[in-house]
Structures are given as C-alpha cells and as structure tokens.
C-alpha cells in the first residue's frame, strides 16, 4: 500500500523560522531512508516516520515520539556538512540550511536496508534520476536529461567520516 506522509501543520508552524516561505514536501513512505549525510551546514533537522524509533545524528541519539502513525524528532543543534545520520526505522527528513534559512528535503539510501546491500539498492535506484534544485518538484521517475556543457575542475571534497 502506498502511503504518503506529510508533516503536520502544527509541526510546520513549530519549525517556522526567518525565511519568507516555508515548505514541507510530501514523500512516499516507501522512499523513506535509514541512512543520510548532510551536504551543507544546517540550523536544525527534523525527522518523521510512521513508526517509533531512534535517530542517531553524529553519534547523538534522539527518539521519534508521537502516535497514530506519526512519530517526530527534532534536532535543534546546528551542524556542518558531512554529518552522518542513521535511523532504526525509515524516516522522512529535512534540514534547515544555515546559509539560506531554507528548508531542504533530505533523502538517503531510499529504503535500502541495510545500506551495504548493493544488489537491493540497485533494484530500487537503477534507471532512476533524482531531481533537485530550487523549488523544482521532486519526482522519482525515469528521465532522459539533455546534457549541457560539462563542468570540470571546479569541485572539491570535504566532510568527515565520524558517525
């Protein structure tokens, strides 16, 4: 059964901050993840699941609390890019970007459990393109993008391997 979880209005209001717009993206429960990595510095993190569990953020554990199929956790402590997150149950996740004050949907291993199960992961993700950018929608479908000029040489890596 396809289930979609939407962050309740009360939770959205609770997490409202200084940016001019607030947005919460709906997400199918089948696409929840148990492993994440933050790609930018953040002000806070929010997790929602349809079952109780524990989320570990950079080694610190928080409990998903709630009832009636909606369990939430908020990590108010700011963090940097490269923080590893693991959850005992699949969760929807978002971060508040520290530079832009914009909410940002997090996705991780997309239901792959355990994350090292590459064969299972390939089944879920092969031929699937993920779209990100601005306020663009977030479809999980096959696309055939037309590539523009390649960009090389401008990137670098950072982050940490602390769990």
């Amino acid at each position: 059964m396809l289930k979609v979880i939407i962050l309740p209005r009360q939770a959205r209001d609770k997490h409202r901050e200084s940016s001019t717009q607030n947005k919460s993206d709906a997400f199918s429960c089948s696409l929840f993840s148990t492993e994440f990595v933050t790609a930018s510095s953040y002000e806070f993190l929010v997790f929602v699941s349809d079952e109780p569990g524990t989320v570990v953020v950079g080694g610190a554990a928080v409990e998903l609390v709630g009832g009636q199929g909606v369990y939430k956790a908020r990590v108010g402590q700011a963090g940097e890019a490269g923080v590893r997150i693991s959850s005992s149950v699949p969760v929807w996740a978002m971060l508040e970007d520290a530079a832009t004050n914009e909410e940002q949907l997090l996705f991780g291993n997309l239901g792959s459990d355990p994350v090292v199960d590459i064969d299972r992961f390939s089944y879920r993700c092969d031929e699937t393109a993920l779209i990100f950018g601005g306020d663009a929608p977030f479809p999980f479908g096959t696309r055939s993008p037309s590539l523009q000029s390649a960009q090389t040489g401008s990137g670098h890596t950072e982050g940490n391997t602390q769990h």
């Binding site: 590459i118 699937t128 601005g134 663009a136 037309s146 390649a150 960009q151 990137g155 950072e158 982050g159």
Partner: protein, 72 residues
C-alpha cells in the same frame, strides 16, 4: 555485487552556475559529473562545486545532493 551506475542526480534548474553539494552515504563511492570522475567519496564526505542546468551526477552507491539558489 553489481558494478556500474546506480544513482543519478539531475540538476533541473540552475540557469546560472550555483553552488552545489553532493554527499556520499557509503564508502568508496566514485562520483562522476557529466561522465567525468570528479571524486571518490567515503561516507560523510561532500563534493562541492558549481552546478548548472542539465548537469548529471552519477555514482555506484547512494548519494545526496542539493544546490543553493538564494541567501537570505
């Protein structure tokens, strides 16, 4: 174990080059941008650089990406 590309990230809207971030969720994850290898990332490592419309990231393992389009 299969080999090859399992995860792709497509930049849908960045008319001008914008800061982009791609993080790896597993170790030893080779990241390519438009077919050219740009980094091999361990879990928790983040590639940063500029992205623009149509850029396509690919990797053998799960990756997460975002771009920054505004600063308040």
């Amino acid at each position: 174990m299969n080999s090859g590309v399992f995860c792709r990230l497509f930049v849908a809207r960045a008319a001008t080059p914008l800061p982009g971030y791609v993080a790896s969720i597993v170790d030893g994850n080779e990241l390519s941008l438009n077919g050219a290898v740009v980094a091999t990332l361990n879990a928790g490592e983040v590639w940063t650089g500029e992205v623009t419309n149509g850029d396509l990231f690919s990797a053998a393992g799960p990756i997460y990406g975002a771009e920054t389009s505004s600063v308040s």
